[in-house]
């Protein structure tokens, strides 16, 4: 047995212990004259300066499912909710591979995870590290596409190489030439046209966007050519295509600090090219912005398909086309609500169900998975936050929870 540590280890340790961290210094006289508020505070009126409302941050190290009040979760009769995977810190967007791999993304963190069943055991692998806000993930024909802060990349034949993923190939770069504050993370969806759909959010709460900001756009992965799909969209981080009509539907976050109950976050249907959904001039199709809406009319803009609730923060949405749930769930939309924070009495923190008729008109909007919100006046009011939904091959529904790093599975049995 060794009784002494090697000298090199001691020297290394001592140098670490004695070295001083270089602290960032600033030159004298560099004081900025004006105070720019953090982007989430931008647009407050003076009476709101002392508001205690603030966004909530996820537990970056995750939390164990056994420490959480899972018994509070509620689903309709005949349905069951259970923990499907844990230990995926900041689990955001979900994508399903052809061979059954569930891909999970990060927004504040830098990883993309792969969850696989091997030898009867569920494993969480850290697939990719060091990415820049890799919130958007989409799987198509063997390839995993990832939308980062500034670019969209592809990883071909990914499911055969989960332990040794290939180098990223760039589909399109330069998506954030201005290094914009606020809403720089992207959702990503593969369209029925073979193009990748993504958002570029507004660079603040309520500001005049640049020409390709506050849009839903698409890029052809074969050519890298970009097109604007819809404008006036403050920030959409959930999209899907109707299984029958193939039309794009997406969720949108409305501005903050107007009031507890206005404006609503919204669900939108893209029925033609060149639609403009109003931001920053008109919100929810019928409410002019007090600043940007002056001398404008909401008639100029396209209204939403549904008002979802104020500050409720809809993230992922998917059409249900699985075979497990009752027939009336076919072509329904499930939406994961990650808010609210910007209202004094909190609401949301659930998965909602939207029922459409044959013409695409909303006929019902009701809670599906609830119980994360426990005290609407507490800080924090919730113990978990639904973030994305994913229809599995067997027809069950996965729900990601970035607050805790957990995936839940909702199943149905007659």
């Amino acid at each position: 047995m060794r009784t002494a540590l090697p000298v090199s280890v001691l020297a290394f340790a001592a140098s670490l212990a004695c070295s001083l961290v270089a602290q960032a210094q600033q030159g004298p006289g560099s004081a900025a004259p004006a105070a720019a508020p953090p982007s989430w505070q931008q647009g407050r009126n003076p009476e709101q300066d002392a508001s205690p409302l603030h966004p909530f941050a996820p537990h970056m190290t995750g939390r164990a499912a056994k420490e959480l009040p899972l018994d509070k979760l509620k689903v309709p009769a005949g349905f069951k909710v259970e923990v499907w995977a844990e230990g995926i810190p900041e689990a955001r967007s979900l994508a399903l591979g052809d061979k059954g791999t569930v891909f999970v993304s990060n927004r504040l963190s830098k990883n993309v995870y792969a969850v696989v069943d091997r030898n009867g055991e569920r494993q969480v692998k850290t697939l990719l590290k060091g990415l820049d806000a890799p919130n958007g993930i989409a799987f198509s024909k063997g390839t995993l596409f990832i939308a980062e802060h500034h670019r969209i990349t592809r990883y071909d034949n990914i499911e055969a190489n989960l332990d040794n993923p290939p180098q990223a190939k760039v589909v399109v770069d330069g998506l954030d030439p201005d290094k914009q504050p606020g809403h720089f993370w992207k959702f990503l969806a593969m369209g029925p046209d073979g193009k990748l759909y993504y958002n570029v959010g507004a660079p603040g709460n309520i500001v005049m966007p640049g020409y390709f900001q506050a849009t839903v756009s698409r890029v052809d992965p074969k050519t890298g050519v970009i097109e604007t799909v819809a404008s006036g969209v403050r920030n959409s981080v959930g999209m899907d295509f109707h299984p029958k009509t193939k039309q794009l539907w997406f969720t949108n976050h409305a501005r903050d600090w107007l009031s507890d109950d206005l404006p609503n976050d919204t669900l939108h249907r893209v029925s033609r090219k060149g639609m403009h959904f109003g931001y920053p001039f008109c919100h929810q199709g019928d409410t002019l912005d007090p600043e940007f809406g002056k001398n404008r009319s909401c008639k100029e803009f396209d209204p939403p398909a549904l008002k979802l609730g104020a500050h409720i923060a809809p993230i992922g949405m998917r059409f249900y086309n699985g075979k497990m749930f009752p027939a009336e769930y076919q072509n329904n939309i499930f939406i994961a609500m990650r808010g609210s924070w910007n209202r004094t009495v909190k609401q949301g923190y659930n998965v909602m169900r939207v029922v459409l008729d044959e013409g695409g008109k909303v006929t019902k909007y009701e809670p599906f998975l609830t119980g994360f919100l426990v005290d609407e006046r507490a800080d924090p009011p919730m113990w978990g936050r639904p973030n994305d939904v994913l229809v599995m091959r067997d027809g069950s529904l996965l729900v990601s929870d970035d607050q805790n790093g957990i995936l839940y599975r909702v199943s149905y049995q007659k």
Binding site: Q23, S39, P181, D379
Partner: protein, 188 residues
């Protein structure tokens, strides 16, 4: 002249112990952060009575390279997420000691206005005791606070959502001095 890092011996011991044992032992932390996480070194932050989510997030940031610091990076490198959560829960429960720092008379007078002007309480809580992932400032070590504010302003402090970096932009050198001196003397 006082050494700039009087805990060097303790840190060395802690590092060697960590390297050998690899355990999430609070004793490793107190070597530098003081008994019960109450630091006696103006450069080293107190970790007692900090919100657990702030502590676990800080350890996560050191391990993942979002915060760069030569002492903390190797300490955090070996910790799993579960171990970070355990350490965070432990130090969140340790009572904060009354600060030894004496705020100057001038900054005692200017401090409250600066705290209000720069909206510190908006995120750090009405008594600046921290909230969720946001740290307790009241009674924190003076030089640590000053160094963090300078680094945030320079864009060199790890900051997951960029909010504190943005908030630090309007601070002058004098503002930073006032805030750090005032906050360090507040009884938590």
């Amino acid at each position: 002249m006082r050494s700039r890092f009087p805990n060097a011996a303790a840190a060395t011991a802690a590092f060697l112990f960590a390297a050998a044992a690899g355990a999430a032992d609070p004793n490793l932390c107190v070597a530098c952060h003081g008994d019960g996480g109450n630091s006696a070194n103006p450069e080293v932050p107190s970790i007692s009575q900090q919100p657990a989510q702030f502590l676990s997030t800080a350890l996560f940031m050191y391990r993942e390279g979002y915060r760069k610091e030569a002492q903390m990076a190797p300490m955090a490198a070996k910790l799993s997420n579960a171990e970070m959560n355990e350490l965070a829960a432990y130090f969140a429960k340790q009572a904060a000691a009354a600060p030894r720092h004496q705020t100057s008379a001038a900054n005692l007078k200017d401090g409250p206005a600066a705290v209000q002007k720069f909206n510190c309480a908006q995120c750090h809580g009405p008594r600046l005791l921290g909230l969720q992932h946001i740290p307790r400032l009241a009674g924190q070590q003076f030089q640590y606070l000053r160094a963090q504010l300078r680094a945030f302003k320079a864009g060199k402090r790890g900051d997951l959502d960029g909010k504190m970096s943005e908030s630090a932009q309007p601070l002058s050198d004098r503002d930073i001095e006032v805030l750090a001196d005032y906050l360090a003397g507040l009884v938590p």
